[in-house]
Symmetry: C2
Subunit: 300 residues, 2 copies
């Protein structure tokens, strides 16, 4: 994040609790510090935009420190789930200056050596448009995303989490299930496996704890989507028992065509802070459209 | 099949009920005929190996004609399901001269123009090793597969069908299910979809009737495997409700590692017709091994 923000032309400084990461960043010429309190005080002094980029289990402790040392700073995060983070932010009294974010990019690597100034180039970066967001903070968060090379997808936290369950977390759950079904067939089955099995199981090669972190943080949405999938599969099973899979394959094919044809124009003409701007951005995001530039500022 | 067999150095002639396909093959210099009875009589005259290469619903009619006009010919097939074809063969009284086959290759195209002499190059070709198979016929079927450029995987019909359900038919069912779950999230979800969704849904782009034909023909095995998958997913759902997905991800990851490490040496030293040859080939196939050449003939 530090590297990408600086590459995007920003004055950026960072905290990391790992002193070896801080040393590595410093020796590459970046402004990093291992002292959270002094970094937050500095953020408060310069009215920085604070980006919380820690795993979900660490978010609450960081927010507690923000609430103590920099409660008036604009605040965002890059955690892969949005409603639970928004809840934590609220519980720490930081709601007024918070706009959540989720850049849909990343690798399985971690640590400073894995940081990449181009990580967000061409990525989609969800920026929350929940009721009550501050348009000045929203602008700053969207500007950060654009400066990092991403396009902005406006979405409500709950809708983001539902979408993520559908297109990111369920794929992992089904890939694990398929991998298990294949291995249960032994070496003969695995020898006969071809493209459909290879592609359907690819993400089962992700480190289990990474998958757990994603899925468990989004448990509420994933449970609902998983129940839907169980119902689809149960219906398919019952229909197959009667001799036909056509209800499943017709609907699945049609759904896949919708995915292939997915649109997404550019969002233009909506000014953060103008009347109904949050509703308008929500509606635009629901059509699959993205923001590639910010309209001229009409308020501070 | 005709094109591949001829490319493999065989004297081959074919029947197709489509006269336009027969004309197209003839104008390319192939020996094709639209008269089933005369083709079967010719097969009987020259003691040909008959290859039934029609969709499952058409198999029974073709077998009836074989039983009437060429009952003593060696007989194989290339249908994607093996136990149901073996049952039909038995019901037509053709069991003694039958050895089933399934070349694991193909495209979504059909018709003579889509035929390809290199279709089976490097493919795996399952050849059945059910009890009671004739070693002379088995040799001829395996030789056909090898001449077409494939390697031979010996498998019992029921084990083939179970494996196909796991590594070919379940992937389709899960891909359809995932495509539906994604589309239900609307344009926003589809806009956020990335690699895991793309790969997990790829085969949902297959023509629905092709998927139906595969799945419905293998209904018995697919139902059992689908019930297993439903149980895996239900267990994962219950565990997620308790806050953890690690049981699923640990087992899924381990299964995927087994797939990536899948072995498969070459089968050597088993001579069709020698004592226990069928059991030995079955055991070898279960280790993931393949046959790339036939041992010298020890019987006729």
């Amino acid at each position: 994040m530090l590297r990408a923000a600086q590459a995007g032309g920003r004055v950026a400084f960072g905290y990391n609790r790992s002193l070896s990461a801080v040393d590595a960043a410093r020796s590459d010429g970046f402004d990093a510090d291992g002292d959270l309190v002094s970094v937050l005080q500095r953020a408060a002094d310069v009215d920085a935009l604070i980006v919380v980029a820690v795993p979900m289990p660490a978010v609450s402790d960081v927010l507690a420190a923000v609430a103590e040392h920099a409660p008036m700073c604009a605040l965002t995060d890059v955690v892969s789930v949005k409603a639970p983070v928004a809840d934590l932010v609220r519980s720490h009294g930081l709601d007024a200056r918070y706009v959540g974010g989720h850049p849909m990019a990343g690798t399985a690597e971690s640590g400073w050596a894995a940081s990449d100034a181009t990580l967000f180039d061409g990525a989609t970066w969800v920026v929350s448009v929940d009721d009550g967001r501050d348009s000045g903070v929203w602008r700053r968060v969207a500007r950060l995303a654009l400066d990092c090379g991403a396009t902005v997808v406006p979405a409500e936290s709950a809708e983001h989490d539902d979408a993520a369950a559908r297109i990111s977390h369920l794929p992992h759950v089904l890939a694990e299930t398929l991998a298990m079904a294949g291995a249960r067939g032994g070496a003969l089955a695995l020898r006969l496996a071809a493209g459909s099995f290879r592609d359907g199981t690819r993400v089962a090669g992700t480190a289990p704890r990474l998958v757990d972190a994603m899925c468990e943080a989004n448990a509420t949405s994933l449970l609902r989507v998983l129940d839907e999938a169980l119902e689809t599969l149960s219906d398919a099973r019952d229909a197959l028992l009667e001799g036909s899979t056509s209800a499943l394959t017709d609907r699945g094919f049609e759904a896949h065509q919708q995915y292939l044809a997915r649109g997404g124009g550019n969002i233009t003409g909506i000014t953060p802070g103008a009347p109904r701007w949050l509703e308008e951005l929500r509606d635009a995001g629901r059509t699959g459209a993205v923001l590639t530039e910010l309209p001229a500022r009409t308020e501070t």
